[in-house]
Amino acid sequence: MNELFFLQPDIISALTRGLWVSVQLIIPSSLFGVIIGVTVGALRVYGNTAIRAAGDAFVLVFRGFPLVVQLFIWYFGLPHIGIYLTPFAASVLGFSLCSGAYQSEYVRGAFLSVKTGQTMAARALGFSGIKTILFVTLPQAFRRALPGCGNEIIYLIKYSSLAYMITCIELTGEGKIIASDNFRFTETFMVIGAIYLLLTSVAAWVIRRLEGRLYIPGFEQYS
């Protein structure tokens, strides 16, 4: 009975339900995070002064506030101005914006690191501004941004557990319920921890594989 606790059907179904919610939080949030990150990152490099300043302010606030504070603002704060979000929607919004702010830092750094000689060479060949960015700058910047952005996604997997704090019952939340109902805190959180460990390890492995795929001899990752 003791060893088989985690094999009981209702426990298993609660855990899978929680895991599924977590996955539904992580995947859209990381996608939106990357989209926001690339957009804001690019605007902070190529935009005019006003746009750059706006981008910097966005990043300052969304990296400066703890994620928990941001989640509370979206979930408990927004109703005061008449916007009601479900715990799930508030979580995805919070994760995407915060993650996007961090991502944009890596993207920005990556764009800035592409040497001016590269764009000059492209211009000399007759590339237009857009084509230069598309075919020369982006492929190089992408490789440079990848390790940082990949790390950010791993962070996001872990931080997705904070959705529990605004009552979005994902993996951690289901774990808390199972543990409290059965008074099995240690085992339950060990299992929950192991599942997260699996998720983060798989993500790290995929990212490393991708980096290996995109490896170019002599192309410095950091300059």
């Binding site: 506030f65 603002i73 408990f76 240690t186």
Partner: protein
């Protein structure tokens, strides 16, 4: 609007006292992380195969499991399992510290490995034991190089400390939420808490930059 300001003004001393709790949690965690992190890094660079492997597992574990899950595991699980009575504050410091030690160890490890091999060789050639060479020659240089990374780690631990609210630690976030749910002024209070966190980030990183400049070795660039 004015009402919000009045509430905010009244709550500010309460929040600021919370910032002291936040500072205590973060300071404790960073120190724990520093002491553990240095040992982990040295073990990972100079240790034998098994030691390196064990440290690798430790780092993998504490970097791969969410803070919240570890807080629950330690506070509700391990503490009662091992029959030790630790306050939520203490558990938060320990868990944040252990996680940070995993991250800090990687900062220090990178710094140690960036030093030229010759430093250790020269120390050995003078007759120093490896222990002395590491303490007197390697670490003083590696720790200096680690200050920017450490500063970054500080800002992460600071923000993560808000999660200690989940255990009921009365730090800034918890206090902001406490007042908010009584006064129904959620937005102003959360923003106030957020800005206080930003101020603490600024002060800490600024302090570390001053420290970096203070201990800078003339002419040295690595």
């Amino acid at each position: 609007m004015t009402e919000s300001l009045i509430v905010l003004y009244g709550a500010l001393p309460y929040l600021l006292r919370g910032s002291l709790v936040t500072i205590a949690v973060v300071a404790g965690a960073m120190m724990l992380g520093l002491v553990f992190g240095i040992h982990l890094a040295v073990g990972q660079v100079y240790g034998g195969r098994w030691l390196r492997r064990v440290i690798g597992l430790y780092v993998w574990f504490f970097r791969g499991v969410p803070l919240l899950v570890l807080l629950f595991l330690f506070y509700f699980g391990l503490c009662s399992l091992l029959q030790i009575n630790l306050s939520a504050f203490t558990v938060s410091v320990i868990v944040l510290g252990l996680i940070s030690s995993a991250y800090q160890s990687q900062i220090f490890r990178g710094a140690i490995m960036s030093l030229p091999q010759g430093q250790l060789k020269a120390a050995r050639a003078l007759g120093m034991s490896d222990r002395k060479a590491i303490a007197l020659i390697i670490l003083p240089q590696a720790l200096r190089l680690s200050i920017p990374g450490w500063s970054n780690e500080y800002s992460i631990v600071l923000k993560d400390s808000a999660v200690a609210y989940a255990l009921g630690v009365m730090e800034m976030m918890a206090r902001a939420h406490f007042v908010a749910s009584r006064t129904y002024e959620h937005l102003p209070l959360y923003f106030a808490a957020g800005f206080l966190f930003m101020i603490l980030t600024y002060l800490g990183t600024k302090g570390l930059r001053i420290l970096e400049e203070k201990v800078r070795i003339p002419g040295y660039s690595a």
